[in-house]
Symmetry: C2
Subunit: 241 residues, 2 copies
Amino acid sequence: MANPTAAMLVIGDEILSGRTRDSNMHYLAQQLTKQGIDLREARMVSDDQAAIVAAVKALSATFDHVFTSGGIGPTHDDITADAVAAAFGASIGVRQDAYDLLAAHYERQGSEFNEARQRMARIPEGATLIDNPVSIAPGFTLGNVHVMAGVPSVFEAMVASVLPTLTGGAPLLSQSLRIQRGEGEIAGPLSALAAEFADLSIGSYPFQKDGVYGANIVIRGSEGARVDAAMTRLAALFPES
Amino acid sequence: MANPTAAMLVIGDEILSGRTRDSNMHYLAQQLTKQGIDLREARMVSDDQAAIVAAVKALSATFDHVFTSGGIGPTHDDITADAVAAAFGASIGVRQDAYDLLAAHYERQGSEFNEARQRMARIPEGATLIDNPVSIAPGFTLGNVHVMAGVPSVFEAMVASVLPTLTGGAPLLSQSLRIQRGEGEIAGPLSALAAEFADLSIGSYPFQKDGVYGANIVIRGSEGARVDAAMTRLAALFPES
């Protein structure tokens, strides 16, 4: 059976302005690969309601799962929960269990549970909460969309909460070989190998740094014996590697 | 006049599998910000013809410019040029000026200009070449889509070739203030400030690391005096920062 498919949606101006470099997508990609869920697409949009709604609709209709990061905090630019609700035509309001979690948290901290913080208890109708052991304010799953925070430590904790609840597939295995020859020299034999092992994914990722150039050849598949067989052939094709 | 808009399309399995972390989008974002071109969306898709065609069509119809990285080398998984041609309904074939550039390059190197390398001279009808001073094989611009290599050193050189040919806008200026208080405490006054300076973008980017938490407030706009005025007010609101 084919593995489940997924997309990631990174929400926030800070990535697109070049101010910060995304790390959540890279983290999620690694976790999904381990669990046998194929990450097929990632999108990054700004804090713009129409852009978020359009992306959520398109991705949730195309893939088995959508994971979002960012925009669920207490400030004016945190509009993800409302946008996801709008994408599903769901109503949204303060939910009692989320409110109680947050109220207890701020009471323990001796901080005021003010209006801004109460916004974080606004959850779309019909959603399931995602546990946040780091800073309490929960994420949520609505339909096939898993809505998580943008702060990496919180995002990673939420991924750890939600991934065990999902059915994975056969973990994707990979092996790689670094070849210090130009891609143009190895492309012919490599193409023949890819045609012969059509059930595997064989990728060539060129590098060029400090005058050294070549390519990392990565062979991926879910059957270990097939990956091994292709790797043995690859090594025989380029014995000097 | 509003600034030109742009999207980036990162093509390649290696990012989505978590094997490598993208750096091209981050680099492009910084360069576009300097030139006053607003990067509004980024997408990452795998080496899949249908996915690339769909993304190129959607992004080129929505934004003034689309920048792609990856998939223009000599190996079997390099299908970007064909996909971009298909998205525009353009024919594609070996182009003489690109062929001549490459033939001369491999002759200088004493390397064979074989069939795989000749693939890199396949350019869609009607495109303009993008100069590649690093490894010669050119990128190209077709319509409003700028097609560049995925190897970061080559991508960056191609960006340097193409950006000066584009009309930019007013460079986006930004100032930021680091506030060591929870977003929930500052959200109220910050929201009022954002409403007062509606012509600016005011973003709150929370952090949480090693027990220290707070938010970086970033104020962006193209008029320096307005950004200064908002920054002065922000600093007065949170004098302990």
